[in-house]
């Protein structure tokens, strides 16, 4: 087991970068879609053998035990080399929650299975009536002997059709005085008669989101994580690191690189209007990266990030969208064409970038919700 603490940040970056550069299969770089597990299974096995599946987890649970600075470096390099995050809901979401709030038995049983991807997790939070207003969720879980019995529906469940387990927020006390109270966090196996998964076809034709229906589905009582009716505060406690990660510059940087290659090949830079709009986008990305460094420095100094970190997500996702819109403009009459477009000996999938940019302003708390948060928590505006 390597002790990363003895490495400087630069040495660490070099090590990670070299590994992603030489070991990651080229045909999987910058995948335009979310892969099923089978597609990236070989890569996952190599990461697992190396002990690199869970960079943020403490070493005692099989993680890399990285501090915030090295964790950021790890993710920056991962994105720079177009390395797919894999089926990481287990590692990113449910694992940290079990580590923080789970019993010893839960840790012993679930954590190794997350690392090996023996269990593949999906996240059951959103419902048809609970999107931005997540606390409005209605899926019920009632205790029946040694089990919870679950009835209701989840939606926008990413890759549920390729998952073995779902971690979910369910209502366990419908009479609680506030809707945030009375919510619990459950681990539920999906291979049972009461669980039905239907894929949703997105506007780009992909099938990565699902609806999951629960009709008297069951899970043992010991699959409750943390206290009954305390699920809401637990789920929220997880989000602090996520919030800088979701605002990282890499998606926009990669798209800008693609835009430049494509626009150059297509001769779009001959047009002064295009040149100016490209320049605006390029400077938007550079200055965002400067702001990102400011927040990253805070993390590296061991400080906790405030609610103001949400501004990174607002800026970078909207910038990402503008860049992909410029790609479509540069494509001219090819702007509606599905699949890679050839420029010289390089191909750029203009539409797939455009589609990939659309949900970024919706997921992880829509940008409108982020603006609500900033206006109250940072600017102190009333009501």
């Amino acid at each position: 087991m390597t002790d990363w603490k003895t490495m400087t940040d630069a040495e660490f970056r070099n090590e990670v970068s070299q590994f992603f550069k030489t070991e990651y299969p080229d045909e999987l770089r910058h995948l335009p879609h979310r892969p099923k597990f089978a597609e990236i299974e070989q890569w996952h096995r190599r990461l697992h053998a190396r002990g690199w599946v869970a960079p943020a987890w403490p070493a005692e649970y099989g993680g890399m035990g990285l501090n915030a600075a090295k964790l950021l470096i790890f993710y920056e390099e991962q994105q720079r080399w177009g390395v797919n995050r894999g089926r990481d809901m287990g590692v990113q979401m449910v694992g940290p929650l079990i580590i923080k709030f789970g019993t010893q038995a839960q840790k012993d049983y679930w954590l190794p299975r997350i690392l090996s991807c023996e269990d593949i997790w999906c996240q059951g939070y959103s419902e048809p009536g609970a999107g931005s207003d997540l606390a409005n969720l209605r899926t019920r879980a009632e205790i029946d002997g040694d089990e919870f019995v679950i009835n209701g529906q989840k939606i926008w469940t990413t890759m549920a059709h390729d998952a073995t387990h779902i971690f979910m927020l369910v209502r366990t006390d419908p009479n609680a005085p506030k809707k945030q109270q009375g919510i619990s966090f459950l681990l539920v196996p999906m291979d049972q008669p009461g669980v039905e998964v239907r894929t949703i076809t997105t506007l780009s034709g992909e099938k990565e989101f699902c609806e999951v229906f629960f009709d008297n589905a069951r899970t043992p009582k010991e699959n409750l994580v943390g206290e009954l009716n305390k699920g809401w505060t637990m789920a929220k406690a997880l989000l602090s690191f996520e919030r800088i990660f979701i605002g990282s510059p890499s998606l926009a940087q990669n798209a800008l690189g693609q835009l430049e290659i494509f626009a150059r090949g297509r001769g779009a830079f001959d047009d002064p209007v295009f040149r100016d709009r490209f320049t605006q986008a390029a400077l938007d990305v550079e200055d965002h990266a400067a702001l990102y460094s400011r927040f990253a420095d805070q993390l590296k100094r061991g400080e906790t990030l405030g609610a103001d970190v949400s501004m990174l997500k607002i800026w970078v996702t909207e910038c990402f969208q503008r860049i992909t819109e410029l790609m479509i403009e540069a494509a001219g009459p090819d702007g509606g064409s599905i699949g890679p477009l050839q420029v010289g000996n390089i191909s750029v999938d203009v539409l797939s970038s455009f589609y990939k940019a659309r949900p970024t302003t919706i997921y992880g708390g829509s940008n409108e919700i982020q603006r609500n948060i900033l206006s109250k928590a940072v600017l102190g505006l009333p009501g």
Partner: protein, 374 residues
């Protein structure tokens, strides 16, 4: 370079510098002073210039062996932000960026260097010329036999200046000369600006001038000094934008309509958040540029960095001051509310040394040139 690359004692020095300049301006009356000076005719206050000098403001980026503090543009930017916050009319960026930027590079031993650092004098810099159509044009102002003939335009600080540093042409190339304010054959036309200041249009006919430096070194020093001043003007706009945003935020928290503060309406809240984000991005971008310029000697790269800063700061200041007027409603359109002073100052600072569209063009061209050189 990020802030973690800076040592904590450097960070602490910058913090102390910011506090001392902020206190100095606050004691002098903050943005109220800007209004008083404007109403009195638009000049800056020579006494304030001396007080700023005592705080080390003008020599901040001048190397220590030339009598400055040697703290670089990063520190100059901190000061410029504070100047912008109170829309002070004193020519801080002119002196630190242009006048001292030229002299400390070309003739660091000249007595004017210490006079500028000590706040004894201000020297305006005349380097641009107006073409027949009114737009900037190539320089034609001639220097021969100790005399200057021609015109210069867009001279900031011409009103209170104790002389002019003029970049002119001679047979061998560019030359930097010093012209006394009452020299023969010098005519100064002043054009009033939106913030109450004046831009000078100078005309020389056989005007006596003392040569300070000549040749390629002048061309290079001018490029470097203009880059310094451009980036510092960007920092001044960042400070201005931040304060304009704070004033607006206070206003929407207190102004009531429909029995509620208007800041409780979501449409106002989201607009306020957008201004806040624009402001923070500008501050982060401009500070990063200033720190990078301190570590860079190539004049083309420094110019590209300065263009990035000014493009960002102007875009932000335009957005913030104009939306600030809208969020103030009708009173925002009056002269009585300070927010109007911020809009007017932003107009002047945006136009000086090039606005955002101009600098985006320069930035793109510089990037293309660097790309094809590789």
């Amino acid at each position: 370079m990020t802030s973690t690359d800076m040592t904590s004692s450097e960070q602490e020095d910058l913090r102390l510098l910011r506090e001392s300049v902020r206190t100095l301006f606050a004691r002098a009356g903050g943005s109220k002073r800007a209004r008083t000076l404007r109403d009195a005719g638009g000049d800056f206050d020579p006494e304030m210039v001396r007080e700023l000098a005592e705080a080390g403001v003008f020599g901040v980026a001048v190397p220590e062996d030339s009598g400055g503090l040697g703290m670089g543009l990063a520190a100059g930017g901190i000061i410029a932000e504070e100047v912008g916050r109170v829309i002070a009319p004193e020519p801080v960026v002119l002196t630190t960026g242009l006048s001292l930027g030229l002299l400390s590079r070309l003739c660091p031993e000249h007595p004017k260097v210490l006079q500028l650092i000590s706040g004894e004098i201000v020297l305006a810099v005349a380097w641009q010329e107006r073409g027949p159509g009114g737009a900037p044009a190539d320089a034609t102002c001639r220097y021969a036999d100790g005399k200057l003939t021609g015109r210069k335009a867009w001279v900031v600080g011409a009103a209170g200046s104790r002389g002019f540093l003029v970049v002119a042409q001679e047979d061998e190339g560019q030359v930097l000369v010093l012209v006394e304010p009452n020299a023969d054959g010098l005519v100064i036309n002043k054009r009033a600006q939106a913030d109450g200041s004046a831009l000078g249009e100078l005309s020389f006919s056989g005007t006596p001038a003392a040569k300070l430096a000549s040749g390629n070194v002048v061309t290079d020093a001018l490029a470097q000094a203009v880059a310094d001043a451009t980036a510092l003007a960007a920092a001044e706009l960042v400070g201005l934008s931040q304060r304009a945003f704070e004033i607006t935020l206070d206003y929407i928290k207190t102004r009531e309509q429909f029995d509620k503060p208007i800041g409780s309406f979501q449409v106002i809240q989201h607009r306020a958040v957008d201004l806040n984000v624009v402001c923070e991005v500008a501050q982060a971008g401009v500070r990063e540029v200033l720190a990078q310029m301190d570590g860079e000697t190539d004049s083309k790269i420094r110019a590209r960095l300065a263009s990035r800063a000014k493009a960002r700061a102007v875009t932000a200041a335009k957005k913030i001051t104009r939306d600030a007027i809208q969020l103030h409603g009708a009173v925002g359109y009056t002269d009585e509310f300070d927010i109007a002073l911020y809009l007017n100052r932003a107009l002047v600072l945006s136009a000086w040394l090039g606005d955002d569209a101009y600098h985006r063009r320069l930035w793109f061209e510089a990037r293309e040139e660097e790309g094809s050189a590789q």
